[in-house]
Symmetry: C2
Subunit: 588 residues, 2 copies
């Protein structure tokens, strides 16, 4: 293998084009095999192999700086920058994260996993160089899909005025995670079709110099392009056309499905089909949306570029027709747009992954909550997980629940969820967010609660001495803890399902003072700024003891869930041990 | 006066152009008089008088929907839509807010005060119309300055694909709050210079239809333009050139200074000069920055379009030269850019107003804190205030302090602030935010604290029974409360200056358990998700009582500060009353 000789980018410099082409095939095969084993971003990485080889062939990294946007196209870069063992050796497949990570390599400048950041970051790196008096190249590599994010557009507007070297490689594979949406993409199409010659040019309108490379999967062409722009003294866009999924026919044909795959997906489903033969919160949400959409022409479902997270496959999206908007990577717009829809008589349902709701705090505060627009916002995947540091879903409770006017609900089972969802969609008074639990539970009993009576917690099992508030996903843990308390301490604890993250049930919490000494709160997210702290505050003037459980305020990185649960004492054993330490119920 | 006959837009329809021109002068004079009395946005409103008259003359509001971006150009609109008394009658000058407000009028669709939202909101309103089968016009009015915000750019990208009526009026006065920054503005200049004929057209590159109106202050021209686009069946940009400050020579000459003025500014300073003859946190920050900038070429100061908030006048900005970046309205870019500067060896100081840091949570989390970049972020105006609902500065503590890795500091006086600032700028380990207090206090004693020893609270006065944690601005209140406790309860309370918002001083808080029964926390911001709740949580497993003081989670709107302090019990009398109710120190 040519790759045997390549440990760092400098080893590329003496290879012939023919050897580089062979190397590209080797890298491609490694990626296919590795990603099919571990899961990960398949199609974006296959499309960028040649451009990455050319980048490291022409530029002098790490002196020259390369910043990959969202960095789910950084696998070839990792292979070429000292980390090929993570792709060659199955025992080391999990050693490196799927994103750029400075702790792994000096070739990675930033830890990146949210989109649309590279241009701003590169502008800062270039400006620091200028202040310092350096002369290295600074290069951002951004996919066409990421261009629609506000941060990228703000970055482009500013980068264009830098007056010094910055090279922005627009890797245009005519796809976001799903298809692209937005006027910008018509312009990219026109630029591809005219081989960059169209007078109407988004990048030039911002003041950038611009070159176009029709075949971004041709190493020689890419080398020529990069040689042309190397050491340039002003901002330039290198717009390259590449093929997402290049070299893996099933991925080339199913770009969306192969954007990110689960382990083994290639073996099991060579003709990719989405499995719909199960029930979970995604499927019941889809069923609900479909039914409602048929009944009411004012129902509209919105998401920002990640329909796959919600199971919104192409067939489903087509069924919704005009009553569906994918705004592309544009979460800020998604919230403001949805708020205006709600204010104008439509019934919007905005679906978003916990990690990405972070991209739109001010719009939730100003466009949505200050205007009290009756939006239904469904927050997926919220909870502690073994995710990598860039995709943690532990922060949505403090983020969302401290905004005035917002109602944030935490259902604990299917029936409760559907009742909340239906109430939210049909009411016209509040912005409502609902946090889909991570564990699917069905009671089989329809929930007839009137959720318009706000902030009423539900006593699921009345006991004494200890009350356990099990929020959302952690309601099941509350039941386990009760059982353990019963077994180990012979106390019949009360279990409460708070349901409302954003409000205090003063009456109920006060009533607990009568025959309880301890309240335990369990929430599937970061404690800091969250639900349990509000319960602590409530009882601050009383004798009630309060123990708050959830995640510590930290960025974890692919830490196994068991390890996190142990660290945070989120097991029935730990919790009972903690209770015993308080000596509230013993005679010692 | 023509205005006597005008109560609602329908009254405009029968007027001649000559009468409309007279009306424009009447409106202009009213605005000048009123704004000079109450303070407010002067220059933006003077520039938009004619366009607003034409808008209401041509369109059928409120059936046709007009959405003003940031809405600091809505005064003429208010005068024409049933609210002229608020400008004619000095007794009613304060009756209406300076922003659009649906509770005032059906002609206002949204409560808006942060920039760059109008296009997204209009897109939602238009889409709701299409779902409903309506046919009204939907019009966004956005200033050139607001275009650079990520939300506006995301909105434009999506609006361009609407396939139905949406009219976006770009009110181009060649100014943001200060001057514009960004490549986009070169294109606007080119469009102005070519009267819209340049082939290179940012808006067309996004797919918009486009017309240009060279004199947006000419009513007849504006009427013709609006008549041309009324009932159009696709997205169109109406790019109009107007004069910021039109009709008030001093404002035309000093556009930045007259963007927003204080009461009486016109009388006192006909030739506007910034008063520099005093000391406050702004002036000492400027002095520090200037000194450091001279010493170290890697120091760089960044802000996003509001240099005036920090007292960064033109002269000051010019002194900083290349070591200063105004990114324009682009807070997301500002944080990512600053993070990259910090990571690349520069020493960035990013200045931001509390209300606007809300526009960039994800960048603080992902670009900044996950990468642990040693940025210094100075947060101005954080605290409870009588501001209007769109400019509240009460939410920055929960927003910033619950992000991992961030160090958020709360100085209580000049010397502490300068010591923290200097430590932050020179350290290379953490992202540090500093919350400038709202009350200027100087001890005269240099602070030699080593702030690299994190989370060490300072016992300012050792007492017993009650400990008062007075955070930042509220340290002075803590001293008052101590005095009142001494007088009314004869208890010598302990006073603690926490200094670190983001961390718990476990040792100190534990030591308080020995001879204190009650801890009081005072913070100048919303309680929910804030500092005091963390102290409550800490003491949840102990006998310590905790009372948490700060703002309730609510959007207040021009509520007098005294009223808020009373509502929140933020007075020494209220607090001592609350303590007495606990019966911790009596024999009853």
């Amino acid at each position: 293998m040519i790759l045997d000789k390549i440990n760092y980018p400098m080893d590329l410099k003496t290879l012939s084009i023919e050897e580089l082409n062979i190397l590209a095939e080797e890298i491609r095969n490694l990626i296919i095999k590795k990603v099919n084993t571990t899961g990960g971003h398949m199609a974006p990485n296959l499309g960028i192999v040649e451009a990455t080889i050319a980048l490291h062939y022409v530029f002098n990294t790490p002196l020259d700086k390369v910043i990959f946007d969202v960095s789910h196209q950084c696998y070839p870069h990792k292979i070429l920058t000292g980390r090929k063992e993570g792709f060659l050796n199955p025992d080391k497949y999990l050693e490196y994260t799927g994103y750029t990570a400075p702790e792994e390599s000096e070739y990675d400048l930033f830890k990146v996993g949210h989109t649309s950041t590279s241009v701003s970051l590169a502008t800062g790196a270039a400006k620091a160089r200028d202040l310092r008096g350096g002369n290295e190249n600074v290069i951002a590599v951004i996919g066409d899909g990421s261009l629609s994010g506000g941060e990228a557009l703000e970055g482009l507007d500013n980068a264009a005025c830098l007056n010094s070297n910055i090279i922005i490689v627009v890797n245009d594979n005519d796809m976001s995670i799903a298809e692209n949406h937005g006027g910008l993409y018509k312009n990219l199409k026109e630029l591809r079709e005219t081989e960059g010659k169209s007078e109407c040019n988004f990048f030039k309108s911002l003041g950038f110099d611009y070159i176009y490379v029709p075949n971004g999967n041709n190493i020689q062409d890419m080398i020529s392009a990069f040689e042309k722009v190397k050491n340039i003294n002003h901002p330039i866009i290198v717009h390259i056309k590449t093929l997402k999924g290049k070299g893996l026919p099933v991925a080339e044909m199913n770009k969306e499905a192969f954007h990110w795959i689960l382990p083994g997906e290639l073996d099991e489903k060579p003709n990719y089909q989405i499995n719909t033969d199960y029930e979970d919160y995604s499927t019941i949400t889809k069923d609900y949306i479909l039914e409602k959409t048929k009944q009411d022409k004012n129902i509209i479902t919105i998401n920002a570029a990640t329909p796959g997270v919600f199971g919104f496959n192409k067939e489903f999206r087509e069924k919704l027709g005009k009553q569906y908007t994918d705004v592309g990577i544009a979460e800020e717009h998604a919230v403001a747009y949805s708020s205006a829809l709600a204010k104008s008589g439509a019934k919007p349902i905005f679906c978003v992954m916990s990690s990405f709701i972070q991209r739109t705090y001010d719009q939730m505060s100003q466009d949505l909550c200050l205007n009290n627009s009756p939006l239904t916002m469904l927050v997926y995947w919220g909870g502690i997980s073994s995710a990598d540091a860039t995709h943690l879903c532990t922060f949505d409770i403090p983020l969302i629940s401290n905004i005035p006017n917002m109602i944030y609900l935490a259902p604990t089972n299917k029936e409760e969820y559907l009742a909340m969802l239906n109430w939210s969609v049909n009411q016209t008074k509040y912005p409502v967010a609902i946090r889909l639990p991570n564990n699917f539970v069905s009671t089989g009993v329809k929930d007839n609660t009137d959720y318009s009576v706000l902030n009423k917690y539900k006593v699921e099992e009345q006991g004494s001495d200890i009350a356990i508030l099990g929020l959302g996903s952690f309601f099941e843990l509350a039941k386990e803890v009760k059982e353990e308390i019963k077994n180990k301490m012979n106390i019949n604890a009360t279990i409460i399902n708070p349901r409302y993250i954003t409000g205090i049930d003063y009456e109920l919490l006060n009533s607990l003072k009568e025959n309880h000494k301890l309240v335990i709160t369990l929430e599937d997210g970061v404690i800091a700024g969250g639900f349990g702290e509000k319960i602590s505050r409530f009882y601050g003037n009383s004798d009630m003891k309060v123990l708050v459980y959830g995640a510590e305020k930290e960025f974890t990185d692919r830490t196994p869930l068991d390890e996190l649960y142990n660290r945070y004492h989120l097991t029935k054993e730990h919790i009972v041990e903690d209770i015993n330490k308080l000596c509230l119920f013993c005679n010692c």
